[in-house]
Structure formats: structure tokens, C-alpha cells
Subunit: 470 residues, 2 copies
């Protein structure tokens, strides 16, 4: 083990501090100059780009098309949907002046785009032939946060927001559910290696204006919950507010049913919190900007390091050569460990002499193994694949071990001090949610006993997942 | 020829109206609700995505890395560079209230990010080892426009902005020039099929805060100029304002030299104006979301149309099947023509009987050719390639034909009524620029007689390109 620990707070001692330290030392992000904003540095943005690509591909596979709606929304638009404006008003950033003059109507910076999208869906949708209409956009949004925290809750964040309109309630629900499972869960589990619990939010936790919010919750290293994405059935609330209607094949005018769904840069925060350890970040190979770093220990190893890098690149891996032999080797090794690069290959004079390379697997035990030069590419390719799976298995086992089945709200509060609790939702109810809230604990989601999604909150035998959360 | 012309104003009669009509009818974009903003619809965004991908790949090939800086910038940041604040102040959108309160310091929505990037370059750059530092971001910016026009000049637009810091003036200039040629010109010429004249801006037209602005200018269908991208040497202006300095290898503290460079959704406007005709848009195959549309004329052709589409997709083309056989065929054909899809394959009962498909090349003459089914894929692949080249050759010839060499400012003003003029810059000077401006004509750029970039405005024998512009 290396000296990394001295540069980071340990998770056990001060988890929030550890989180901040990792972000700073791994050069993922900085605080922006306006309170609560974030500068995403190249290494953090590189992770986001790969994640975005994986998400975008799956979104397009559902048939949704990308578009772009304006940043600025007339204040009056938000007021058309009563619950929506109530939910978002306290968080709005308002442009009152532009071009040297006071605006006639103030414009808000979008906190989310249901209202402006609704206005255009209304124009674009005429007949049943135009449905379903499936849109997505990659954009920045602004929500003024009281307690900002890098990646998890920033005043401005990057996200994708999907907006769809359908002819029937059933079609809308099926699409919102498809996004939840085939897009979001697939990316989280198979790309980010993060196990998630999926379920329905209680009325209290629902998106402002939705009739149903479905969520994916991840467990952080300190046993809290992190909402990783949400998919909403909006019923006919926005269709009514913005007159999104269509001529049916029978010739009658009908209101559409809409959905919206979003996932954000917060997922990078999830990646840090789910996989990180006391030595720093651990990045799943699927989103690692650098999957393998080849370190030349001394100058005479640089040419061989480059040769290895070329071979690994040709095998389809993302590889970086560290040839900064004028800097201490130990510091460089610690730096790559901090950045959570999955595989580190060290190449020194002794390795060259023995025709081997030293392979360190950051996502396993960080033990050093000498691998024969001829076997190197095959070994590394196999390790990358295996370690992606290992990370998921490890996180899944840890999550399972920290979920306690309880019977009462009091027991749930106690269990939530160190992990999650499940309990019968009948034992909670709206009153129970108030009591949980007093201890900063919330119902994260509701599931049927078989793990599937309930159609409403009043189904019998629902299981509530309860936890503290970020 | 089809009936398209009736749905669009003709270019000769009313070019600005034609431009608006194409954007609306081809479903590229809509006006946003806040004046001057834009909704980019899926078809327009699809073009932008392909363009973005081509640009992004080339930017990364220069060694620049993507990052993300905040939307909101403290007002005081802009004031640190005197020319910069003077240039941008009239266009700023200002957030005065957020989270239900008045802000202590108003924040502006970024009109460009030199100032906020400067603040972080200053933190991140310590030693000569950290240079060059090469960053890029894809983002939205807001500049309050008095006369907004979709794609060309919108209050909010999408762009990439690059920001780099270098140890020497020479290195900064070389990098800004590399961006101009290897990234921007390459994309414009070889992806968008748009010939561009590259040169140096006069002092009057320079970016606020730059010591040198290099530009790429395209000629629109009505003979005006459209600035398609710019690359700036910022000298040490921002380095001084934000203290971007480094410890040299000799141990002295030195100010860095910075550059910035941007290209925007305006390029889509350029694509429309350079290639469009009275029948609508014409999209270069390299950025066509649909390169080939296969139209089933009647229901019995749908299966065969899908078979053709599968075969073309397997050959690497982007293909759409139009199976809306319940709608009039003529209207569907006109619609694809309007959208400028490069190749239209029509498949009717007679085609099926003769084992042929009817191929219409939108980028050529739109004549209909019967192609034997067995030759179809090979023919279409070859046509796509040839038509990308054809579009460029056509635009290049048209541009050359509309540039007139003149000797005096008066002649230049006359020539600019219908095209561009070149004249000796000695015959213009600052006074001449004032006189041109009175006729809404500007010096678009300066070139050396051999077409290369001047190092300053005072070199002898410089050639000025003069035109009206968007």
C-alpha cells in the first residue's frame, strides 16, 4: 500500500471531507465563482462524456430524438401548472435585465423544461399520427441550492431531460417504465457498475406536477441513499396546462399524456461515493477516460512503455503513458491510484531485464503481479473485463449487507443510522413519513413484494425502502 | 420538378423570407418564447450533432480536452479586462434574483467564457510543465441581440469555445492558427462542403480583448458574407487581468499567452444559405441525419423498401423508410426535397415489376433514374460520395464567380451589392472602413497576396475582402 491515505481524509473518520478531498485531488471538479456552481475539470468531464455517450445511445434506441429548447423561460409559463410552480419557485434564478434594459417580463433560467417543451408539443402535435412524440435534450439547468455540494447538488448542473407525449395513459406509463429499466438501470448497473433499487416515490417525494415518479436509488459508501435518476408520468397535468391535444383516429379531440425523465452529473457523484475507497477514486472501466496507465519508472523504459501502450490501444483500450521520469515515481503512482485508473502497468529496469511488466489492479487489491511481456495484452484485456464485473459484484454485496428488514418506523430510523431499512409501507403512512423526516430519514421508494413497480401508493403489502439521503 | 416552390418564397424574390421559410418547412427550428431565442427541432439538431461530432473529433486530435465552466459569471469578472467588458456589456443578460432573494453581486449569463476560464487557468497553471494547457467546452451562451435571426444571430446559441494557455507568443499563435486551418477550415470544407476565405480581421472587427482575430468567411446564396468561426490570439491581455503566470524552467515567473476560438450553431445557418435552393434545403451527406430516404409509393412496396433500407444501412448509410402510404405520394416527396435529403429512392408497383428502383439525387439535378435493384447499393454509395464533392465544387465555383477585384472603396461598395470585392487594403485604411460602414459593408478579412495570414494589419500589399454580411 502507498502513502495515498495521508492526502485524503479517511472515509470512516469524515466521509463528507473524504468526498471533497477525492474531487479536489483527483482533479474532477472545482467550486465555481458563483456560490454553488461547479467547474468540471477534464478528468471529471471525461468520465461524464463516456457516461453521456452510453446514455445517449440507449435513449436513441428507444426512438427518442434529441432537440434543444431555450435556457430562458418566461416566468408566466411556470405558473400554468400549479404544483410545478409551487415546487420550483423557491429555486429559480431570474433574469430581470438584458441588453442594458429591464425586461418587460422577467425570464427564469430553466430549472427543468416541462413548461417550455409543453408549449411546443402543443404546436407540433395535431393528430394521433404525431404520437408518440419522443424528445430528449442534453442541457444545463439551474436550481438555487441552499446546501450545495459538488456533483451531488450544484446550483447549475448538466443533465439529459426527456419529454414525451402519448395517446394513452398506458402508453405513457410503458414508456416512462422503459426509460427507468432499459435506459437508466442498464447504464447504472452495466456501465457505472452501480446496483440500484428501483421503485415508486411516495406522494411526498414526487416530482412537482407528476402523478407518478419512479426512481433509482444507489447506496453510498456511508450507507445513505443517492437518487440517481427519475422517470415521471405527468398524467394530463401539463397537457391540460399547455393544451397538448390531438385529433384521434375517430375524429375527436383528446388530451395527450406526457412523461419526463432526467439523469444528471450527480451520477458522477454516485460513482465516487459507491466505488471510492481510502486511496481515492475507483473508476469502472466502461467510463474510465484512462483504463490503463503505463508508467515508465526510469527514462530508459519510456520507449518500451510506449510500445506497450500502442499494443493495448490497438486492442481497443484507452491508454495513457506516464513518462514524467523527472518526477518521483512514488508520487506519480499515488496520483494514478487517486484517480482510480483501473490498471496501472509499471515498467522499470528490472522489469525490462526480466521481460515482464508489473501490473497493479486498482479495482481489486492493488497487489503487484509480474506478467510476462508476451501475455500482457491478453492479461490486461481480461482484467479490465473482470474488474468491471468485480466492482458491480462488490457494490451489490455491500448494498445487500447494509439493508435491514424492520417492522416499525422507530426501528427504521435506527437502522438508517448506518444503512437502509425496508419495512411494510402500511407501518409508515403519511404520518410515519413526518416522523422519519424529523430524523432526516425519508422513504426512498416503494416496491411490491416481488420488487416490481406498484401502480399506486395504496396497493396492499408494499415495501418501503427507508434511508438518509444526499 | 415538384410543387415545392409554392411553399417557399423564391431566393431571387425575397431571400430573407426564403431563409425563414426553409427553416420552418424543413422543421429545423422555431422561435423560442423569449425574444431572440431558438428551439432547435430534431431535424436541425440532428445536423448539429453530426457537425459537432466532426468538430469534436478534430479538436481532440489537437490535444485539447473538454471541460465545463459555469453558466453564471460574477459581473466583476468581466470588468477586469477593459476592452472585453466594453465589447460585451451591451449584450449581457443579468441574473439579479435567485432562490427568492436579491443577489449580493449580480451574475451575468456567460456571453463567452474567457473571464471565468482565466480565473481557473490562473489556479491550475503553476509551472512551465503545465503548459500548454488546452481546453474546450461545448456550451450555450447568451448575447442579447437587437435583430435576432434563427441560427444566424440568436440571443442564446450553442457553440464550442476553446481556451488555451501557452509559454510563448509563437506557440499561442501557432495553436490558434492550427485551430483555424486543421479544425475549422477542415470541417467547413470537408464536412459542410462550404468553401471559406480565411484571413485576419482588421482592428475594428477584432474580438473584444484580442490582439489578433482570424476568421473564416462563407458566401451566402445572396452574395453576402457569413462569419463561420473565429480563432483569437489574446496576447497577454487576459493573462495580465487574471494573473495567468508560470514558473519558467529558468526559475522566473512569466505571464502566459492565451488563445480562444469558437464555432456555433450559426454554421447550420451557413449550411442552409450556402447550399439551399428554391426547392428547399440541400444537406451535405456528411452531416445529413438521413442520407437516403426510401419511399414506398404504395403499401405493397413497403416490405421491399425496408429490404433496401436494411441493405443500405448495412453499407454504412443513414437511411429512413417513408411508409406513410396513407398520405399523398407527391406531398411526401416534396417534403423530403424540402428537407434536402441527398438521395431519394422511390419504390412503386412499376419499379417492383421491373426489378428497379427510382433514384433521385437532390444535390444534383433531381432527375429520376431507374437503377437495377442489384446495382442499387453500389450506385447509392457512389452517389453519396460524389454528391458531397459536387456540392463543394458547386459552392466553390459560385463563390469565385461572385468575387470582383476592384481598386477603390467606391467600387468595392458597388461590387458588394451583389457579391464580394477584393481590393488593396492600402486603398481602404481606417477611414475607408468608416465609409464602407455607411453602406453596411465591412472588411471581412485581410490576406497576404498569396492567401496566407498577415502577422499584423500594417504589412504591405495586403488584400482586403469586402462584403455585406449577416
Amino acid at each position: 500500500m502507498t502513502a495515498t491515505r495521508s492526502v485524503l481524509a479517511s472515509q470512516a473518520t469524515d466521509y463528507p471531507r473524504w468526498f471533497q478531498d477525492v474531487i479536489a485531488k483527483a482533479e474532477l471538479a472545482d467550486n465555481g465563482p458563483v456560490r454553488g456552481t461547479m467547474v468540471v475539470r477534464p478528468y471529471g468531464y471525461g468520465i461524464w462524456e463516456l457516461l453521456q455517450e452510453a446514455m445517449n445511445r440507449r435513449i436513441k434506441a428507444t426512438g427518442a430524438q434529441n432537440a434543444y429548447f431555450p435556457l430562458l423561460i418566461p416566468e408566466s409559463y411556470l405558473q400554468r401548472e400549479a404544483e410545478h410552480v409551487e415546487g420550483f419557485s423557491p429555486e429559480l434564478a431570474v433574469v430581470t435585465h438584458a441588453g442594458g434594459k429591464q425586461l418587460e417580463e422577467p425570464a427564469v433560467i430553466r430549472p427543468t423544461s416541462e413548461t417550455v417543451v409543453g408549449e411546443y408539443l402543443s404546436k407540433w402535435i395535431q393528430s394521433y399520427r404525431d404520437l408518440p412524440l419522443l424528445l430528449n435534450q442534453w442541457a444545463n439547468v439551474v436550481r438555487w441550492e441552499l446546501r450545495p455540494r459538488l456533483f451531488l447538488r450544484t446550483t447549475e448542473f448538466l443533465w439529459q431531460e426527456g419529454h414525451t407525449a402519448h395517446a394513452t395513459s398506458e402508453d405513457a406509463r410503458a414508456f416512462a417504465t422503459k426509460i427507468l429499466y432499459d435506459v437508466y438501470r442498464d447504464v447504472m448497473v452495466n456501465v457505472l457498475a452501480i446496483p440500484v433499487v428501483t421503485g415508486r416515490k411516495t406522494r411526498r417525494e414526487r416530482f412537482a406536477g407528476a402523478i407518478n415518479t419512479m426512481t433509482l436509488e444507489a447506496m453510498t459508501g456511508d450507507g445513505k441513499a443517492l437518487q440517481m435518476g427519475t422517470s415521471h408520468e405527468l398524467g394530463q397535468n401539463f397537457a391540460r396546462a399547455f393544451d397538448i391535444s390531438y385529433l384521434s383516429s375517430a375524429g375527436s379531440r383528446e388530451l395527450a399524456w406526457t412523461t419526463s425523465w432526467g439523469s444528471t452529473t450527480r451520477m458522477v457523484g454516485g460513482l465516487i461515493m459507491v466505488h471510492g475507497d481510502d486511496a481515492g477514486l475507483r473508476v469502472p472501466p466502461a467510463v474510465a477516460p484512462t483504463q490503463v496507465v503505463v508508467l515508465a519508472v526510469k527514462e530508459e523504459a519510456i520507449a518500451a512503455a510506449r510500445g506497450i501502450a500502442d499494443e493495448l490501444s490497438a486492442a481497443g483500450l484507452r491508454v495513457t503513458v506516464d513518462d514524467r521520469t523527472d518526477q518521483p515515481f512514488g508520487r506519480r503512482a499515488v496520483n494514478w491510484e487517486l484517480k482510480g485508473v483501473p490498471i496501472r502497468i509499471e515498467l522499470g529496469p528490472r522489469d525490462l531485464a526480466a521481460d515482464v511488466a508489473t501490473v497493479v489492479r486498482r479495482l481489486r487489491d492493488s497487489d503487484k503481479t509480474a506478467v510476462a511481456r508476451a501475455d500482457l495484452t491478453r492479461t490486461v484485456v481480461a482484467a479490465i473485463e473482470a474488474d468491471q464485473d468485480h466492482l458491480l459484484a462488490e457494490a451489490t454485496a455491500r448494498q445487500a449487507a447494509r439493508i435491514t428488514a424492520v417492522r416499525t418506523v422507530d426501528e427504521a430510523i435506527e437502522a438508517a443510522a448506518s444503512g437502509w431499512a425496508t419495512l411494510p409501507y402500511d407501518a409508515v403512512g403519511e404520518q410515519g413519513e413526518d416522523r422519519l423526516a424529523e430524523s432526516a430519514v425519508t422513504v426512498r421508494c416503494l416496491q411490491r413484494p416481488d420488487g416490481t413497480l406498484p401502480l399506486d401508493d395504496h396497493e396492499p403489502d408494499l415495501v418501503a425502502y427507508v434511508a438518509r439521503s444526499y
